[in-house]
Symmetry: C2
Subunit: 303 residues, 2 copies
């Protein structure tokens, strides 16, 4: 098994982890959480989203989080934007990197932003142009890459087409998302192998949800394809708010444990990540689906 | 990725899944559960354990479960035994297959059965001899293969030595157990690759616990080494009784989902397995760690 010796784990918890939560975490607590994450060695945090507060009330304080956050040197604090209006806010907040998003499924994209993929790409083209002009790097989130709740199967050709359009716009890195947690390791290898025919591996990141327990297996498949950037959400936040313990994003600390067990260096502290998860857990008010957080709870209980 | 087209999933829930539970499930309910499992296509069930009821009160009714169980043709109903006394009970219960167990860690073995590995092997030699004379096949469970809570690392050489002793006794299949859920995919491949130098692959099965979320990744590693028998416990039962949602054995239905997603045939019905998990869940009284069971619950809740 040939895998990279070193990878980067990007933290998407404060944005992707919280956006579906019904609870509102205070700005102060979000900032304290982010500080715990960067204290654990995290070098990339997706801090918030500059979408309309009407869409995502949980992230309505994006501007304030950036305003009051004490930035650490060497850490990239990123913000997601849906359009030029969001970009304006993100630029005023002086985010380090702009995140944009589009779905690989036309139906999912329409349900999400009420636009076709091509309409969204046309809007994003201007967003990326402005962002780059302002000296910002851009990360593109491509969702439902491995399956869509409405369309089911998504063709690799479709993923490749959109990926190349995004990269031609100037997007620096693509995060390929398994939005509903249906990817499997054979498929992950197939998709990456195909994308690598036109895209350098270094432009690709993987973003898994652990809905069906396959996130670790999918990450290993990505590693075997030499992918070196993986997203995680501290605590495994980002699950469906309707069911306790339902899992969303793969937990950053579970990815860290996996990497440590495989001998892959990340620069992160497992203990620090678990402490960050312990900090946010009571504020979210759900039992977190993170394995490492659960194990730590058991230890605390003396079990 | 070359993997087998067909595998066997062996159900250990009624024994390994229940043995650590503090609740006592009635004999009648155990039998109804086992019937649901075989209705889902399960061809191998580890029904119970003929250890002293003092050790494992949850399985004290092993004799009665076998007595009242209506056996289905083509299904192997197995029983675990610790020694000749247990074997006598198992033979009187007319089990289809005898399970024996020993740890790859001397400390763990002593904590478990108060004997050294070699003392245990000496007892098991007679057990296997009698079982074979009575025309029974024998499955050997080797625990802590991938790590021990007391000794930590377990050498592959030690695993290989014990495996070969068991096979020389006449054991038909070895189930290599990751008792505390610390295995990782690189290690799984290493261990199997080494064992295959002296043991036919067809003699080996893998038994994972999902304590740290790596069970699916470890199973994929096993598949890539051409292993074709995997253990699972319906519902993911077998976790630590001290923490809600703490995961023990990998859930049979989660293994089934993995196999289906990889296009590997098992002969099992995912829906049937989930129904079996739904049946046993309220009787166990814990939130089951099974992903497929949780997804089914969410669907039932209309989420």
């Amino acid at each position: 098994m040939t895998i990279p010796q070193e990878v980067i784990i990007k933290e998407v918890g404060p944005r992707d982890g919280l956006q579906n939560e019904s609870v509102i975490i205070s700005t102060e607590k979000k900032i304290a959480w982010i500080e715990k994450l960067t204290n654990a060695g995290v070098k990339y945090v997706e801090v918030s989203s500059f979408v309309s507060p009407k869409w995502i009330p949980a992230l309505a304080d994006a501007d304030d989080v950036f305003r009051y956050l004490k930035r650490k040197e060497g850490v990239t604090y990123a913000g997601l934007v849906p359009n030029e209006k969001g970009l304006d806010r993100a630029l005023r907040a002086n985010v380090d990197e702009i995140g944009i998003f589009v779905s690989a499924s036309d139906t999912h994209n329409r349900k999400n932003v009420n636009k076709s993929i091509d309409e969204t790409l046309s809007i994003l083209k201007d967003v990326v142009k402005t962002a780059k002009r302002e000296g910002k790097s851009v990360r593109g989130y491509l969702s439902t890459v491995f399956g869509c709740p409405y369309e089911g199967h998504i063709s690799i050709g479709q993923v490749e087409r959109i990926s190349n359009i995004l990269l031609e716009m100037g997007v620096d890195e693509l995060s390929l998302g398994d939005t509903i947690g249906v990817a499997n390791p054979v498929q992950v290898k197939q998709v990456i192998r195909q994308l690598k025919t036109t895209i350098p591996t270094g432009k690709l990141a993987l973003h898994f949800h652990n809905t069906r327990g396959l996130a670790a297996a999918n990450i290993v498949a990505g590693l075997e394809q030499n992918i070196q950037v993986f997203d995680g959400a501290n605590g495994g936040l980002g699950g469906c708010p309707y069911a306790q313990g339902a899992t969303g994003n793969v937990a950053t600390e579970d990815v860290q444990y996996l990497m440590e067990s495989l001998g892959v260096n990340t620069g992160l502290s497992l203990k620090g990540l678990v402490q960050a998860a312990k900090y946010i857990a009571p504020h979210v008010g759900l039992e977190l689906p993170s394995y490492q957080h659960r194990l730590a709870q058991k230890e605390d209980d003396g079990a």
